[in-house]
């Protein structure tokens, strides 16, 4: 009994705690930094792991002296629209590739995946040209349109795997029952793939929320920046790092993603394991 307990401690809980520590420490660091004054931050004699004189100045500075509210709104706007756009496209694409089996569906599936493999650091140059031509440079719409370029391949592949796990007979039965292909899709496939769709949605939302490179290159007006870009470009002035507000902003910006995750976590886990229990 106790031997088993010790074994469990060493093999399971110990690694888990080490892992958790590494994972959560940055958040702790952000949290304490958010409540420290500059004087405290730069005083090397104090123990850096604790707050000694809590202050709200950082929070005030973030909201008063920067456009943090505005950036958060922008990020939401872009992330939600890009997610909806990508999900709609991926749902149809994944279903068509997986089930309609039209001529060339296999190669198309693979080429979509290759599209995903091209790094944004290369892609942003040609994409910039396109954005110029469409006259949406320095507008949030550029991001809404660009994010699906990496979200759609990702979501499509995730959903293809999920659709594959839905028994074909179920759809065939519905078709014999009198349903058209579209109705089978809405009434049978989508409800059954809901956990997978949620996973794809959460992923898409998180990826767009955290996206940095495109947001940095395509947006230059301060009022149109997204939170990750806004924080860094406006709170790192020259070589002066405003650590306090920077960390406060980072902490607050990760809240929505954390909320989305915790809200959908059950579905999310079910979606990842691809488990379609009948």
């Amino acid at each position: 009994m106790s031997e088993k307990f010790v074994e469990r401690m060493i093999k399971f809980y110990l690694p888990l705690f080490i892992f958790l520590f590494f994972l959560l420490f940055p958040f702790y660091w952000m949290f304490i930094t958010a409540f420290k004054s500059d004087a405290e931050l730069y005083n090397l004699k104090l123990n850096p792991f604790f707050i000694h004189e809590p202050t709200f100045k950082n929070i005030l500075m973030l909201f008063k002296e920067t456009l943090f509210n505005r950036w958060m709104f922008n990020t939401f706007f872009v992330a939600i629209l890009a997610t909806i756009l990508s999900l709609s496209a991926s749902l149809l694409a994944a279903y068509a590739i997986q089930r309609v089996r039209f001529r060339g569906s296999g190669p198309i599936g693979i080429s979509i995946f290759f599209g995903y493999l091209v790094p944004p650091t290369i892609l942003f140059i040609p994409l910039a040209a396109i954005i110029f031509q469409l006259k949406i440079w320095d507008s949030l719409w550029s991001l809404v349109l660009i994010y699906p370029t990496f979200l759609i391949p990702f979501c499509t592949w995730l959903l293809m795997g999920y659709f594959k796990s839905i028994p074909k007979e179920m759809e065939e039965c519905a078709m014999i029952d009198g349903a058209s292909r579209l109705r089978v899709f809405w009434q049978i496939v989508v409800p059954l793939a809901l956990p997978g769709i949620l996973s794809a949605g959460i992923f898409a939302f998180t990826l767009s929320w955290n996206e940095y490179l495109y947001a940095l290159t395509f947006i230059s007006t301060t009022t149109l920046k997204t939170a990750p870009v806004g924080l860094i470009t406006e709170l790192v002035r020259g070589d002066v790092y405003h650590w306090g507000p920077l960390m406060t902003g980072a902490l607050l910006a990760s809240v929505p993603v954390a909320l989305v995750y915790s809200f959908f976590v059950e579905h999310y886990v079910a979606g990842m394991t691809g488990a379609l229990k009948e």
Partner: protein, 363 residues
Amino acid sequence: MAKVVMEKLNKHFGEVKAVRDFDLEIPDKEFVVLVGPSGCGKTTTLRMVAGLEDITSGNIYIDDKVVNQLPPKDRDIAMVFQNYALYPHMTVYQNMAFGLTLRKFPKAEIKQRVKEAAEILNIGELLERKPKALSGGQRQRVAVGRAIVRKPKVFLFDEPLSNLDAKLRVQMRVELKKLHDRLQTTIIYVTHDQVEAMTMGDCIVVMKDGLKQQVGAPLELYFRPANKFVAGFIGSPAMNFMEGELLSEQGGLFLQTMGFKLKIPEDKAAKLKSYPEKRVIFGIRPEDLPEAPAAIPNETIEVVVEVLEPLGSEVYLDVKVGETSLIARAEPTTKAKPHFKLYLQPVLENMRFFSIRDEKALF
């Protein structure tokens, strides 16, 4: 009310010829069973009738109308799948009502029909449950219920009982048969289990490697198999086969094989006379190999018992003649013991002869 006709039906999956030149005419209200070993093309044939699989060549008629190009929903058929394919996110009621709702039946009629079907199948109390909360047998009933509410012209069943335990399978066999009597609808039923085929079908179609082997009533297939494959496939335990030589001697025609010699009855001998070859395959069913009290020349064979399989009402004897194994049926009172000698007296009137060349029945 529907006659189903298949004409020179072919289905190729690339190199695989799943169904070859399949002809079949199914009269209205008939219960037809497609039976054959795994991979012989039964499911493929059924799916072509349902419209779920494109036809490589040939025609399918339902009620004298070619349906080759008709989508499944317009063929007025219902299909029960092996894994039931119930919609997991809908209740039993919604599952059964789905097809009717799509066809825009009035609410009251849908309710009426579902209730009726639920009563027939004894699933009235389950209507509000989700499929997850049902046992295998209950799911099976719901799947059948979903098919019958639509009152289609033809029912297609693809091994609907294979996921049930043995006892339930026997019970559902009877129920499906009763259901057919009651609904009087054409049924095409696929199974690989010959017992199921024999007990349920008005008419059985035996298939092998995509080819139709024989069509006929259960007992016709049993007593007059068209070839060695059908003879061995229908009936359990299977028919015994041996190769032998025909000897025309004084006193008639004899069959010489592995150390014993049997006199062939006059009527069969007359039919065999015109057969040009000397070597044949002959088959005899276990129940046509009764024990004999003592050796009779040209009528009994001497065997050594290997294993006894007592079933209660009968005992199967696994015996050996030389190197060949045979199965014989004996009365429960048999005195046979393993490793002892025994005489069997074949009922020669019931023996079947097959050509060695193409394994077809000789007459």
